[in-house]
Each structure stands twice: as structure tokens, then as C-alpha cells.
């Protein structure tokens, strides 16, 4: 089980044992991490599971698809390293990965 750290906007961090094959969003929800709303339940259709992946881990999270890109493009706080956490599937290569959460989901 790779360890993944999620850091809330206020700096509080949470390290979880993430389950591979499951999305980062589902892992966060299952571990009760605040800051990810995931209104659509992982359908890449709400944009409320936004995270910033720490630069050196960004490539490990894989490519985003065009739908994810359109959803992200409506976020005023989008950065280069923005991803929707429901579109990141946890792999063993992500052991030690750090992601930050935005100030708000909208």
C-alpha cells in the first residue's frame, strides 16, 4: 500500500495508506480527509475533487483527458499541477506522493 500525503489548505497534513487501483479521491473519502467534496462521485463531471500534485510527482499521476481538462479550465485557482483526484488511479509508483488541496471546492 503506497503512502500518500494530502495537505489541507490550512497546512494540516494527512498521510494515508492508499489502496492501489482505486482513485485518489475514493481513497481520500474512505479515510475521511476533509477538503474534497466529490459531488459527482467520481464521474469527472463536477470538478469538486480538485488537488495540486507536488511537481515531482506530477508525471506519476499520468495524463489527464480532455473532459478533465475542460472541468479544470473553469476553476479560477487552476495551476499547472492541477488534477481532479477522481481521475488519478493510485499505483505503487506513487508511494510517498504529496498533494495539496485548494482553498475551496466550487
Amino acid at each position: 500500500m503506497p503512502k500518500v500525503t494530502l495537505i489541507e489548505f490550512n497546512g494540516t497534513d494527512h498521510t494515508i495508506d492508499a489502496e492501489t487501483g482505486k482513485s485518489l479521491m475514493m481513497n481520500a473519502i474512505d479515510n475521511g480527509i476533509p477538503g474534497i467534496d466529490a459531488d459527482c462521485g467520481g464521474a469527472c463531471a463536477c470538478g469538486t475533487c480538485h488537488v495540486f500534485v507536488e511537481q515531482k510527482w506530477f508525471d506519476a499521476t499520468g495524463e489527464s483527458n480532455p473532459l478533465e481538462d475542460s472541468m479544470l479550465s473553469m476553476r479560477p485557482d487552476r495551476e499547472e499541477v492541477s488534477r481532479l483526484s477522481c481521475q488519478i488511479e493510485i499505483t505503487d509508483a506513487m508511494d510517498g506522493m504529496v498533494v495539496r488541496m485548494p482553498e475551496y471546492q466550487m
Partner: protein, 414 residues
Amino acid sequence: MNQIADMPDAVETPLDQIDFSDPRLLKDDSWHEYFARLRDESPVHYQAESPFGPFWSITRFEDIVAVDSNFQDFSSEPTIIIGEVGEEIPAEMFIAMDPPKHDVQRKAVQGVVAPKNLEEMEGLIRTRVQEALDDLPVGETFDWVEKVSINITTQMLATLFGFPFEDRAKLTYWSDIAAAGPQMTGGDIDPQERFDGLMECLATFTQLWHDRKAQNDDGFDLISMLQRDPATADMVDRPMEYMGNLLLLIVGGNDTTRNSMTGGVLALNQNPAEYDKLRADQSLIPSMVSEIIRWQTPLAHMRRRATRDIEFGGQQIKKDDKVVMWYMSGNRDERSIENANEFIIDRANPRHHIAFGFGIHRCMGNRLAEMQLRILWEEIMLRFSHIEVMGEPTRVNSNFVKGYETLPVRVHPL
């Protein structure tokens, strides 16, 4: 339109003899059984004839998510209601646009409802809600829709637009007529009245644009934001686009929250055990707010148009066919929501509903709507032990706006 014959029996009638666009289904709140049948028997359903032409009905939650997030195959142009908007006012709004134009225009106004701005507005909203509630006539039966729901949403809209406060009733009027054309949603506004009203709306807002420009301050109202964004800075020179987007924001901010404000009172009265739960634990308000929005689903549908022949749900949808996603039905779909037909204020996953839509057109005012409802209920619970419904509500005659014209209530102070 088709107000002559009685509605066909919901259980016995063959599905192809039922008109699912008939506004009476919402007006009489009789839609539940009809749409439950569609979900079970024909979830992707073709209706060959209706006063609005032929269309597909999509009624299951998962299918709605699939259509809503596939903007390539299911276009939002030219409009997002079952009917046609008519040629006389060719208003253009970003909800009825596809990318890339949609994204540019939406982004220009999105910031007004960013949570940072909302926080700043919270105090103001709370003061206004307090004033409205403190003015209610205790011991008398009165209309909740007029005295609370319309009153509060209109004040909020005036604030968002920087609209002259004393004229704010006009915003409600324009919102009402914008979406009430008979050929659009089955409403009953006279076309000439609608035309005149919307022209007045455009003239008023054009004046407001120029006045605001002359003031040249950094307001955080919507008009100032449009003026600041390079993509929309000269929108006033494209009147139909300007009006379209104004109407979108007026209707989007008006019909929706207003009807959820009324729907919540009704739902709690129909479910007294839930009202007890709320009285015992007011920290349930945020999850109740999501549940109210799901239960009410103030906009019944959104329409798309197929951009190519496509197989969907085992059916052959043809290029240019109208595809109607019935949000209110998706929100009652037991396949995706446990006990979907019950009102449960502490349900496990209350944000998992479809009332805001999904995908790139998902409601941009969702957090503002939730905040207004949360404040309303926080302030209600500080004042009243019970808001008692005194009679049946009257509902809006429309297949699009699922809402209330009146709801007689009495308030009982703590």
C-alpha cells in the same frame, strides 16, 4: 396548449400515449408515477409527438451524468429547454453555448461566486435574512413565497448586479417572463408582454452598464466583472449576448433558490420526524440544505441536441434529435440514491444529487445557493419552533421551472 383532455392514467396508459412535456405533471405534482415508469420501463425514451416536437427523455441518474458530461455528442446549442426560444428575441447565453465560447464567457463571471467573495457577502445576506424574518406577521397566515422566498432572493440578486435596490422587484418580473413563453415551457405569458418586458430589461441594464463604466471603481458586482474581463469588456455592444447572459444569471439566481426556500418548508412539514431531528441537532443544517435541493430539484430538465447519430442506452439517437435530461427524475432514481423518494436530512452522501447538473454546465452558483439556504435555516431556527404549512401550495405552470406560486404558512415563535 394541451390543457383540454385529462391527464392519462399514470399506471394503465401505454407510454407512447403520455406527453412527458405536459406542464401539468409539475403543476399538479403528479409527475412521480409517470417518471418512475420511464425509469423502469423505458429509461431512454423516444416521444414522437409533443407540442414542442419529438424528443428523447433520459430519466436515470447514471444516464443523465453520461449525457451531461458528453458535450461533444450532446450540444447545448441552440437552447437548453424543451421548447424553442423564438426568433423575436435571439438572446444568446453561455449555458446554451458549447466550448470554447462557453468557457470564455463563463470564466468571466465565475469569480463573483468564488467562496472568497461569498464570505464577504455572508454578513450582508444574513442581515437581510434577519430583517425579512423579523418582519413576519406572527399569528397570521401569510404567503411564504412572497414574504420570504421572493423577498430574499430578489435582494440577493440586486446585490450581485449592483442593481438599484428600490427597483429590485423588476428582476423577479423579468425572471418570471423570461422562462414563461408558452412555446418554450408551456407557461402562459402573452408574447407581446414578454417582448416588451425583456426590451425594458435590456434598456435598463444597458444604462446600468454605462453608468457603472463612468463610475470606474473596482466593484465586485457582475457587471463590473464583465467590464474588466477582456473577453466580455465590450459585451454591451452585442445586446443579444449581453441580455442572454443577464437573463441566465437572473433566472439562475432567482427561480432556483426561491423554490428551494419554499420546498424546504414543505418537505419538513410533510416529514415531521425530520423536523424533530433538525430541532434536536442544528448542525444538520448543511446536509439538510443539500437534501432540500435534491428533493426540490428546482429546474426540472435541461435539453441537449445530438451532434451525430449515436447509440445510447440501447437506442439509436439521430443527429439533431432533442435529448431531455430530467433532473427531477434522476434525483429520485433508487439505482443511484438510496431511499431516493424519501426526504432524509442526515443522509450519508447528501451532495450526491443532480439538481445542479453535471459537467461543464454544472451550476456555477451552487455554493452561493447553498449558503443562502444555510443562512435562512440558521436564522429560522433561532426564531421559530415551527413554520406550519396551513394549506396546499400552488405550483408553477411550466415543464422547466419546478416551483411554487404560493404557500400559506404560520410561524410559531420559540
